[in-house]
Symmetry: C2
Subunit: 265 residues, 2 copies
Amino acid sequence: MTERVNEAGTVGKALNVLDQVAAFGRPVRFADLLESSEYPKATLYRLLQSLVQQGMISYDAERGVYALGVRLVRLAHQAWQTASIAPVARPYLDALSIEIGETVHLAQLDHGQVLYVDKRNAAVPVEMYSQAGKVGPVYCTGVGKAMLAWSRIDVQTRIIEQQSYHRFTANTLTSRRALRAELDIICSRGFAYDNEEHEPGIICVALPILTQGGHVLGGLSVTSTTARHSLESLAQLVPHMKSTVSRIAEDAESWRFPEQIKQPA
Amino acid sequence: MTERVNEAGTVGKALNVLDQVAAFGRPVRFADLLESSEYPKATLYRLLQSLVQQGMISYDAERGVYALGVRLVRLAHQAWQTASIAPVARPYLDALSIEIGETVHLAQLDHGQVLYVDKRNAAVPVEMYSQAGKVGPVYCTGVGKAMLAWSRIDVQTRIIEQQSYHRFTANTLTSRRALRAELDIICSRGFAYDNEEHEPGIICVALPILTQGGHVLGGLSVTSTTARHSLESLAQLVPHMKSTVSRIAEDAESWRFPEQIKQPA
DNA sequence: AAACTAAGTTTCACTATTTGGAACTTACCT
DNA sequence: AGGTAAGTTCCAAATAGTGAAACTTAGTTT
């Protein structure tokens, strides 16, 4: 027993259901959820009711379908502001983006995945949530590898285990072994490449954003195409990125630890 | 007492705690939460643990502070895509924004508040989450009043009750009575104004986005300043906005109700 | 139109989980 | 050292959650 039981109380179960609804990526009917759920009918039903009542899930009575609720969008706005480095990094991303004119990504680690928290795209205008909030794999993205390379050993080990090592392109690293070797190289080099490992024709350079204590706050990457750049020419941007990264780290640290949190009654 | 107790089970309580953490808008210590919480110490403590374990809240052990977790950002991305009209409306917002060159907002109703789900700003570049995800009051914004005016009577009544009627400017509607009268005018006029009711010098025109069945999907507004426009000149944009709105509604409806949701096993 | 079927909802006895006062453990302040 | 406040754990009592099964509703077949 306890096949994949993750010590989940009622709250955990409810949030699992929330994830399940999210995983579908479209409005779902009760039966769809029931089929892919580990919970019995009545339990699932009541969990859904709770979530709907709380506004985390919306229910379209006419169609009988569940979808994620907009309350999440609101919460996320707060999360983005308080929990991510994005608000702090924003002005630096703007500056970097304008100066180098290529696509810039800001990412953080979340549950063994790369979570993009902000983006600048030179050509295309606003893209909003459709970019920030996206997740990607760690083992075949520049930011992913950069963040992983400087992560605490226990975190690193866990994440290396978690990866799927699906082959996206000819250059994708498809084993823990290959990834570990790559991480060593990245560490000594000081930054990471993505050499068409995720999408053909897409390359990038990425740096980790580190606190003074060496803790990984996030990652910064500049992406381009093989048509416009070689890895070598992208690497010339690294000094510039390094200074951006250190300024973000500095600001993030002073922002995370403001004078006094406590306020008198 | 039981000020805002909503028949909450364990799940509801946990989500209340989540909201509470969100409300602070900064990392908070246990004691801060305890003070503003209706739950006893041990209960609050365990709820927080559940949420942290689930990644909805992050806990900084060094500082002993809780903050919203990045898992929310990921969930919100899904929510934005599946539950909001933003992805559908995007191309039309782009077009409208380019043609009229003023700030455009796309909003939906959430818990008696205006939730902005997308935005176009002619001058300033990308602003990401810092704009989408924001909430505003219904009673003194163009989109808020527009959506409210066409809402089902029970929804409308509830929301009218919920408003704070705080006076932001000389023009703010500060009573249910005044708001009701305004809604009547809006209905017969066919669209809503914000005549410096929220911020001095800021005016806007807003339209509801309605399904064929007359259900409110959201709202669309064009904002400007008194320096650049009068209400009358803004009103000239209404026909253009009307066509945008109807195209969004059309797309949204066909998108919400795709051929068949069910898929064979 | 009646019978059938599938999808969704409610019931209810059972029990596991949650509850919260109080005791305990740190960690900091004097 | 002693004191105080913050955070954590305990445990008996009680609540809230569980899920098989019965029920309702809507849609389909005979």
